[in-house]
Symmetry: C2
Subunit: 171 residues, 2 copies
Amino acid sequence: MTPEEINKGLSYITYGLYIVTTAYDGQKNGMIVNTVFQVTAQPARVAISVNKQCLTHELISKSGVFAAMPLDESATLPFIGTFGFRTGRTFDKFAKIPYEIGFLGCPIVKEHTLSYLEVEVQQTIDVGTHTLFIGEVKDVGVLNADAKAMTYDYYHHVIKGKTPARATHIS
Amino acid sequence: MTPEEINKGLSYITYGLYIVTTAYDGQKNGMIVNTVFQVTAQPARVAISVNKQCLTHELISKSGVFAAMPLDESATLPFIGTFGFRTGRTFDKFAKIPYEIGFLGCPIVKEHTLSYLEVEVQQTIDVGTHTLFIGEVKDVGVLNADAKAMTYDYYHHVIKGKTPARATHIS
């Protein structure tokens, strides 16, 4: 079975697109992921998969908290690119982005986002190139109730977005 | 923060809908989940969240393998109900369903499904009411390339489907 065949079979899984942020010791960062998912209802627990090479991975490992915000269909490629295709090591991703600091200290991005959830990490699972951060939802809020969630399919076919090298999948 | 507020904030996460199957010692079973997601690209690893009370949970724990098949929009409520709202403890879910046995021994449902992936479980993570089964994709195939994936949103708003009590979330 070739990698292309494997990727084709996996391409039918449905995802959204999310900004994931965190902050530690005065340093904040954020990135784009497609893997945010609720894993239990009681209590409400959420998991994300983050590449170990990303600055956000390093900061979540230290802070033990993250925020996740589903993007809506109004998000443009430059907006997504700010979080998804640049590194926070050399660039302040929040310089031109409206945000507030949330209950757990994470930046809550208020533009092109439907809602936010802030999560306290309880389990850190090594899955190889990536880490699953799993934790309990400590705060949530609705930012834009009437907008439509951007699916990963919409990102690829309407926004014409690409997949970065550190993603959980190959485009 | 009330459970209703938490659920509202979490409702903007995008999911698909999947049949997850397994077989152990001649006993096969399947269920509906909305949490199937790729967590690494190299190698291709997938995670699912399964309620501990489900028969499928018991059988995956024993067999160490599962298959996942994204549903397409043609899936009817009775079809979904066969897998999602009945227990395999007292009912053969496959009696009237076209399927084949896959490479790892899991039933591959060929109706109302876009593709299949068979996964060998490598990590079993206790997340409370549910278990995350994480493993490597060993076989995949496309069943219906031209159909459209059923999103969880479509299931709720077009199919008018409900959320069972053992789900990873509250509807």
